[in-house]
């Protein structure tokens, strides 16, 4: 092998190592665990301060909001994270409804500092990213809400005909 070839090989390897390092370190730094409320409750002690993404059914009576400090507190009940399972149980709206009225479900207290979203209401699905503190309270950095019943009229209503 002549010397330019070796130089190119070394150069290529260096790039490869650099890219691999970038990918691995960034993956570690920004990995977000998809968990359900049940899973969080089961592993509570080991996942403190990890990035977690969790979804749950909002329980309407628990919503409190202080517009002065923009602090929003509410509790969510466990729902399955598996879309197929949700479909099987009659769709998202039905699953959320059962979750909210079921007293046996695992529940998670959430604190979010920010503007209260319009869709924050009973039986909405809250999709949150944030971390769990040592008290077991979830601090959400990001809060997304879905209200499934609204968008489900794929076929026009009878009355329009």
């Amino acid at each position: 092998m002549n010397s330019p070839k070796i130089k190119f090989l070394i150069g290529g390897l260096l790039i490869l190592v650099a890219v691999a390092y970038l990918i691995i370190s960034s993956t570690k730094a920004s990995a977000e665990y998809f968990m359900t409320v049940d899973e969080i409750k089961a592993q509570q002690s080991t996942i403190v301060n990890q990035n977690i993404r969790v979804s749950g059914a909002v329980i309407g009576d628990t919503i409190t909001y202080d517009p002065k400090t923009l602090t929003l507190k509410f509790t969510v009940a466990h729902v399955s994270g598996d879309n197929a399972e949700i479909e099987k149980e009659g769709g998202l709206a039905a699953v959320l409804h059962t979750a909210v009225i079921d007293p046996q479900r695992n529940k998670l207290e959430v604190i979010y500092v920010g503007v209260k979203p319009d869709l924050m209401r009973n039986e909405a699905q809250a999709i949150m990213t944030g971390h769990l503190d040592s008290e077991g309270i979830f601090h959400a950095d990001e809060l997304l809400l879905k209200c499934p019943t609204k968008y489900e009229d794929a076929v026009p209503q009878q009355s329009q005909g």
Partner: protein, 691 residues
């Protein structure tokens, strides 16, 4: 009936495309020009025929024919005419028709060229383009038909079907659901067609690549023919991406333009491979190297284009979940799988013919730096791909679904983009074959000093201390100054030699080597865009709060005061809440802003329209989040301060200009045999030759 006609001509175009494929292959195998000619005509005929189908669909859309399911889903009576027309691509099935139509238009356009010197490519170009078109038309015919009508069955259920089911009655809703209000924005009206134009035009270079592989004519002819198509494809794709970003910035109300979600990334990935391809073909043209690599890049680009169409289509309107339920998902994956495996098999079959004609010797040669550019683009592609598939991998390996969010992409691609921008400045200075640090240094030291001066100003004058931002600015200014200096050096040399005015010299210089100087202009555009991206990514600040009438919020020296708010209904079925705010800085009144919240009654969907004060230095971006009917009890605002973000949009305009310069058609002044030219280049110091 119009819908039956529209569907009928779709089937006709499908049959024609299949015939074109068959007769092209037959003509090639039996060396019969007659059959090849017939295939070309059949392919050309698909264009007017698909045009009829598109016209039928548009006719249904603009005439409120709500008995057609697609029309019901994407339009409503209150929508203006232009939105009714453009809602052709507002839903999945319509956009597939549109895609197929563009494919027919482009393949017809390319088939009209003079084929004298490359007759053998023709049948295979017909095969690849017709196959791609047939795939999309087939999807429409068999799975996603926009011409389905509503029927009311005996039991009272409403179903959609092409033909009247037995025992059912005609059914027409009085009004449609209307296009998703989020999509009623000029940026969104032209964003999908731009993206599609980019996607579809990349099929043309791919078709020629496959033709080259099948026929064994693996010199750089296919690259030279498709050079302009590649530039066009790249420009449209770039514009599509930028327009999507602009739309997000104007409409989505989160103060950003790019969120690294899988849909965006899927449109971005073909851009990455396409950009790499655009650069590496030059190495093949000039040095006869990287032949497999170019083939692989265009094959990959094609696969990513089809994949991108698949994912972007499932974007805002229908969820990924709903998409997976239809048969369209598996159809896409099977098509991508078959075309990819076949292409790679062809590539391996021709491996021996694609040997490099020369060797890379110097680390600082132009070809080595271009190779580095390619590796960086591919690295970014790998990062994106890894980010998209990581949840699947982690679920398979650990059983735990783990995702990576925007921070992953930012951390991992940031250094790679910075390296690319720096390389973009340096690489054009290097010579083909061989350069030394000395020659590079001679061309670089003046711009380098200028950018160091700017860095001192940024460091002390603007008090910026974040190391990553400083590195970013250094890279951007170095690259910009080198490129500008190159323009100036070449123009001055010409103006001295030819005794021309310097501007005239610059004009003539660019005119004589459009691809080179168009490329430099695009490089400057990328520099401007990078400046905007650094501004918003690293220096964005935000605040939010609920304030009563007369009260203010402060952010970065700006004072935003809440003056008034009005809530009213409009005649196009919206409820609008519109706030009036004043912006001032250091006690000086600057402007009024009117952030709005529109609520669409039909779709029960709110839409947030920010109030933005935009200058080249920064944007002040205000969102009305919430309000009380009584003004004294207040309204909630969120305010973003986005420094430099306008450079992103300015850069995209410069990019269009550069692309026009680079892609402007000129007379084909060949034919110097490739080898002779290569020897000439090896003799000249810097690749300044006319091409």
């Amino acid at each position: 009936m119009v819908e039956d006609f529209g569907y009928g001509v779709l089937i006709l175009s499908f049959i024609l495309a299949i015939y074109a494929i068959g007769s092209a292959v037959y003509g090639y195998v039996h060396r019969s020009q007659k059959w090849v000619e017939s295939s070309r005509l059949a392919m050309q005929l698909t264009f007017p025929i698909l045009t009829l189908s598109v016209i039928s669909l548009i006719y249904l859309l603009v005439n409120d024919q709500y008995h057609v399911a697609f029309v019901y889903e994407v339009t409503s009576r209150s929508m203006p005419m232009y939105l009714k027309i453009t809602s052709l691509w507002g839903g999945q099935s319509g956009s597939l028709v549109f895609w197929a139509w563009l494919m027919a238009a482009f393949s017809t356009a390319v088939s009209l060229r003079k084929w004298d010197r490359d007759r053998e490519f023709l049948p295979w170009v017909v095969v690849v383009t017709s196959l791609t078109m047939a795939f999309f038309v087939g999807l429409v015919i068999f799975y996603e038909n926009p011409f389905l009508q509503y029927w009311k069955s005996f039991s009272g259920d409403v179903i959609s079907a092409m033909f009247q089911p037995a025992g059912s009655a005609f059914f027409a809703p009085t009004d449609g659901r209307g296009l998703n209000p989020l999509l009623r924005h000029p940026g969104m009206v032209i964003h999908p067609p731009m993206l599609y134009l980019g996607f579809v035009s990349f099929v043309i270079p791919f078709a020629f690549a496959i033709a080259a592989l099948v026929t064994g004519r693996t010199d750089d002819r296919w690259i030279r023919i498709t050079r302009r198509w590649t530039i066009i494809a790249w420009t449209f794709l770039s514009l599509g991406l930028v327009l999507g970003g602009r739309w997000a910035y104007d409409v989505l109300g989160w103060g950003g333009y790019w969120g690294w979600d899988p849909v965006e990334i899927s449109a971005f990935m073909p851009w990455l491979t396409g950009t790499a391809f655009l650069h590496s073909v030059m190495i093949q043209e000039k040095r006869g190297m990287l032949k497999y690599w170019n083939m692989l890049l265009i094959i990959l680009t094609y696969a990513l284009v089809i994949f991108g169409t698949f994912l972007t289509r499932s974007g805002v309107l229908s969820s990924v979940h709903a998409f997976a339920q239809s048969a369209i998902g598996p159809a896409f994956f099977i098509f991508i799988g078959i075309t990819f495996v076949t292409s790679v098999a062809l590539l391996i079959y021709r491996w021996a013919d694609l040997k490099a004609e020369s060797q890379m010797t110097s680390m600082l040669s132009r070809e080595a730096l271009f190779l580095l550019n390619n590796l960086l683009f591919m690295s970014i592609l790998v990062v994106c791909f890894w980010g998209v598939i990581f949840p699947l991998i982690s679920e398979l390996v650990t059983g735990q679904k783990i995702t990576v969010g925007p921070p992953f992409y930012k951390n991992a691609t940031g250094p790679l983009f910075a390296a690319l921008v720096l390389l973009m400045g340096i690489a054009p200075l290097s010579a083909w074959g061989h350069s030394t640090l000395k020659t590079l240094g001679q061309a670089m030291w003046k711009p380098l000093i200028a950018s160091l001066v700017v860095m001192v100003i940024i460091f002390f004058g603007f008090d910026i201390r974040q190391p990553y931002a400083l590195i970013g600015f250094f890279v951007i200014f170095t690259s910009a100054f080198i490129t500008i200096y190159e323009f100036w050096r070449a123009a001055r040399a010409r103006s001295r030699a030819q005794k021309e005015n310097i501007l005239l010299a610059l004009w003539r210089l660019a005119g004589r080597n459009r691809r080179r100087y168009g490329g430099y202009i695009i490089h400057l555009a990328i520099v401007c865009m990078s400046l905007g991206i650094i501004g918003i990514e690293m220096f964005q600040t935000q605040t939010q709060g609920t304030i009563a009438q007369g009260q203010s919020l402060q952010l970065d020296g700006y004072t935003v005061t809440y003056k008034d708010l009005a809530v009213f209904d409009t005649n196009d079925n919206r409820n609008v809440a519109r706030a009036v705010l004043t912006v001032s800085k250091n006690g000086q009144f600057l402007t009024e802003l009117y952030p709005r919240r529109d609520y669409y009654y039909e779709s029960q969907q709110p839409m947030t329209i920010p109030g933005v004060r935009s200058t080249m230095a920064d944007d002040l971006y205000v969102i009305l989040v919430d309000w009380q009917p009584i003004l004294s009890s207040g309204a909630t605002f969120k305010i973003y301060h986005n420094p430099l973000v306008n450079w992103l949009w300015l850069g995209s305009i410069i990019l269009i200009f550069g692309s026009i310069v680079a892609g402007w058609p000129d007379k084909e002044v060949e034919i110097v045999p490739a080898r002779v030219r290569r020897n000439q280049i090896a003799g000249s110091a810097v690749g300044q030759q006319v091409d």
